[in-house]
């Protein structure tokens, strides 16, 4: 059992004490049952026993205290477990390389990091109470066996059956749940289309009809699948409850047939069995969740393994350093092939040879799919080369220097991501920030407080300006801008080409821009053109 192993490995501290307290609480629960029966008998004989009352009070108190202790301690421990797993996975992702991330798929990683840990967080406390009730059942079984061995065997046989029936039925319910979720997803998609394409819908009545009809079908489908799911759920519920009722029926209608002298223990056995129903119900409720937890843990572990090897390999890259900020960076006969799953090449780039110098602006142009993005990824060291080398200051960058090399580059890719937090800048200088905000004409829209932008809910062009502010704050030697100006209006485009870029150049940066704005080709010191995976220098 993966879950068991993980718990023993990751949070062994409180296991022994929880187990001990658990035994105490089970004993307290059993004595509550026994005392109720004993007091009933006493009362029937017309006596009230102070001793029993005292024992009863102590038992209740003990049960209350121990139960809270177990549940709270184990829940907090399971939170610690989740925390450990979550942070470890997050740091592994951080240290992995881009190729691995793209291969595994961001959605998959996100799923494991958010959904699977979430499932664990919700399921583990349930398992804790299931386990606790399981131990109580064990002691109640001993008590019942002491009253009547056959009653115990029959009752726990039926209880076991109840748990397994519930287990099977819950698994069967999953298919219903999946189809209900799919139907709901279809409604959601339809609504997304209606709202995101609202202008288009308003422009064309026939299109509106089409969208609405699709939605109507989806809504109806959702209704039917949900109804089916609920009907099945109701049947499951009622059958389990009926089985629990039958527990009591078993004791009073079946056991007496086989056990001589059962009348002596008929009342306490009945009460004991009625007591058992609760914990049995809990255990049967919780057991199917073990599978869920196992599955989530398996996903987490598989992901850890997948990332682990890549992260180990990547950690070599953090060892070395470059001597100083490079005055030039270059690709030398760099080549890369994208391959499909079987390894046959889909698309090749290179060999690429290109040089970028400090205090110069270099433009890169080229059509869609000519390999510009790949060039940038190779140059920034985000994906390893198949062949050739990255050169800084005329010396090839070795593997162990790669992270330091990357640390000297700021890049705003066309698929850039803007975080609200300024992670890259340790202590942002407020004066510098306000100057930059003004210069990029964002000062009346955004402020920076506690190392975060007040908002990033802006247009793409505006978010790119904020990304440029982040790059300026990082103040690195190399700055790479991928079609930065495409989302800016003509006014700001002019500022970008005629003020911002020359300023970066004047400060001795290596400025690399992917651009199509031919009007401004004259400000570049050098222009490369990409075409079908090859590069050539464009003569000015």
């Amino acid at each position: 059992m993966r879950l068991f192993k993980t718990v023993v490995r990751e949070i062994p501290e409180n296991l022994a004490s929880v187990l001990f307290v658990n035994t105490l609480s089970a004993i307290a629960a059993t004595s509550i049952v026994a005392l109720v029966s004993a007091a009933t008998k006493e009362a029937a004989n017309g006596r009230i026993s102070g001793r029993l009352l005292l024992m009863f009070a102590i038992s209740i108190l003990l049960f209350h205290v121990t139960q809270i202790h177990i549940l709270v301690t184990s829940s907090i421990d399971s939170e610690r477990l989740i925390h450990k797993l979550r942070v470890r996975l997050f740091n592994l992702v951080r240290k992995t390389d881009l190729v691995t991330i793209d291969r595994i798929g961001r959605a998959n990683i996100q799923g494991v990091l958010t959904q699977d840990t979430q499932i664990l967080a919700e399921v583990l406390p349930m398992l804790v109470i299931g386990f606790q009730h399981g131990i109580i059942l064990l002691f109640l079984a001993i008590y019942l066996a002491w009253l009547s061995p056959l009653a115990c065997i029959l009752a726990f046989g039926l209880a076991g059956l109840t748990v397994s029936v519930r287990f099977k039925r819950v698994h069967a319910l999953r298919t219903f749940m999946q189809s209900a979720a799919a139907a709901e997803g279809a409604v959601f998609n339809g609504l997304t289309e209606l709202l995101n394409g609202f202008k288009e819908v308003r422009m064309n009545g026939a299109r509106a009809d089409g969208v609405i009809n699709t939605l109507r079908e989806a809504s109806h489908k959702s209704r039917t699948t949900n109804s089916l799911l609920k009907a099945q759920w109701g049947r499951n519920y009622a059958i389990i409850e009926a089985m629990l009722y039958s527990l009591a029926g078993l004791i009073v209608f079946v056991v007496p047939l086989f056990v001589a002298g059962f009348y002596e223990v008929a009342l306490p056995a009945t009460i004991a069995v009625l007591f058992i129903a609760g914990p049995v119900s809990t255990v049967s409720f919780v057991t199917p969740m073990v599978t869920q937890a196992e599955l989530a843990l398996e996903n987490i572990e598989t992901m850890e393994n997948k990332l682990g090897t890549a992260a180990d390999a990547a950690s070599i890259e953090e060892v070395g350093h470059l001597d100083k900020d490079p005055l030039s960076i270059a690709l030398h006969d760099a080549a890369l092939s994208y391959r499909d799953a079987s390894g046959s090449p889909l698309f090749s780039v290179g060999p690429l040879t290109a040089e970028f110098k400090a205090g110069q602006i270099t433009f890169i142009t080229g059509g869609n799919g000519s390999g510009k993005s790949t060039l940038l990824r190779l140059l920034t060291g985000l994906i390893p080369l198949d062949n050739g080398s990255i050169v800084a200051n005329g010396i090839p960058v070795t593997t162990d220097q790669m992270q330091d090399y990357r640390n000297r580059i700021s890049a705003i890719f066309s698929d850039f991501h803007l975080s609200r937090r300024l992670y890259a800048v340790k202590e942002p200088d407020p004066i510098k920030i306000s100057t930059l905000l003004k210069r990029l004409e964002m000062h009346d829209k955004v402020t920076v407080r506690d190392g975060s932008f007040s908002t990033i809910d802006l247009s793409t062009g505006q978010r790119k300006r904020l990304a440029l502010i982040v790059a300026e704050l990082e103040d690195k030697q190399v700055i790479v801008l991928d079609e930065w100006a495409a989302d800016q209006d003509p006014h700001f485009r002019r500022i970008f080409y005629e003020e911002l870029l020359p300023d970066l150049k004047a400060r001795g940066k290596i400025v690399i821009c992917v651009t199509h704005d031919e009007r401004w080709f004259h400000i570049a010191d050098r222009i490369y053109k990409m075409n079908e995976g090859r590069i050539e220098e464009h003569q000015l």
Binding site: A231, L267, R377
Partner: protein
Amino acid sequence: MNLLRLLQLLEKKPLHRLLLSAVLSALSTTAILALVTYAAQKIDVTKERFVELPIAGLFFVCVIIYVVSDSRMIARFADDIEQAIDYLRMQLIDRLRHADLWKLEHFGQSRLFGSITQSCKVISSNSQYLAMASRSIILTVTILLYIATVSLLSFFLLTFLLIAAATVYYKLGLSVEKCQKDLASDESKLFECVSDLLDGFKEQRLSSAHSQALGKDFGELSTHTVTTRSELHRQSWHQFVFGETMFHVMLGLVVFVVPIYSPAVSQELVKISAAILFMIAPIFGLMQSLSVLRAATVAANRMMELHEELKTLEEQGTHSEADAIHEHFSVIRMADIEFSFPSQSGEKPFAIGPLNVEFKRGEIIFVTGGNGAGKSTFIKLLTGLYHPDRGILTIDNRVISSDMLATYRALIAPVFSDFHLFSQLYGIEKIDKLAAEELLNWMEMAQVTGIKENRFARTNLSTGQRKRLALVAALLETKPILILDEWAADQDSHFRKKFYHELLPELQRRGLTIIAVTHDDRYFDAADRILHLEEGRITELLTNKREGK
């Protein structure tokens, strides 16, 4: 209660049915209780070895009745709820369909999504608990009545204790819910951090400082989440254990205290103890249902409110069928059109107009202007999606009244800058395969995707490529007017050139009127006329006066 109003949307009488099944289920459960204790006592008293068959048979029948009535109750109630949701959801969507763009834009998309999808989900996924809540109440009452037949004193004592305990339990639940809210906000921060890592993976690879800060942040957020969730666990377990203990106290009360005051019932204590044990499940169930019930009521409320609010969003007049506008119009005119956005506090209100512009059939007209000059608003006014504060739209000197808007819009195929590429080619009755293929070839997209059964085979493409598909879809509509908002902005220079020098002239030859918002001053020669927008005012630039390069 709005949840009930939701059900009243249905013509049937779902509540009667629900109540009937619930009563049946509760009575059968109480009968099971009575039969079990009766049999146990009988064995105890008579000391006989055999069992009364009729009682056993009755027990069996009661179990069957219980299973049937309970599962039916849940299934039927859920079905009724689903039907009501389906009905209301479609009503909302129908209203949405006829909404006015301007009002809708200011209504807030997330609210709409939240109300329609989330609310439906909350109600639907909890419908069984709602059904069970009513059963639990009835069952608790019948069990208490059963206790009353045995001992009135116990009945009063237990009822009192039950109400007191339930109140405390409920109060404890309120602070648990507050914890849940805290947790939700912690978790959303944690998830934001995860997407900062994954969506910004390249960025963090390029900066060790960035990467370390991310790791540190995530660690802190995760620790904080652990604290919040632990607090939640602590509180909810306290609540749960309190509930359990109260039942134990009730048991103790019955077996130790009641006999002192009411010696007569001493022989019957087992009945009451059993009854208390039988009450545990429905009462915990009921308590659980209460919070669910509240969430569902809030959700139902939101849907009902939305239903009312959406009524106010409706665009006037567009339902009615007006006489057709001839598609061979000769001129569309905007006359003195003015439109202003309500200003937010402290800001200068943005106003556009007065606009006086003519569009003749067959022209190519470019509209230029900086960010925020009002180009998109201009397009929305021209297409009648926004209603001007003043001024009129005319076509061949006929004023386009609000009931003509739908037919007027039917002349226009637009590709907006924030266009939406639909998963299906909605609204095109019969797709001309040949034309579609030709268009895809023309857009250089035939290699990348195709049209299969009313939909594009692939749409997970770059923005530029998706815009080409949106243009294909617009052209397949075969409307006389084509409106493009910064269509070429995402195209590479090769295709941009093709667009201005090849596509536009050819479309014009085919008789289309083209109105295009653009920044590409290199290609201003492709237009017949150029309009320039600046601060909400429009001026006509002549084609030969274009900015020199």
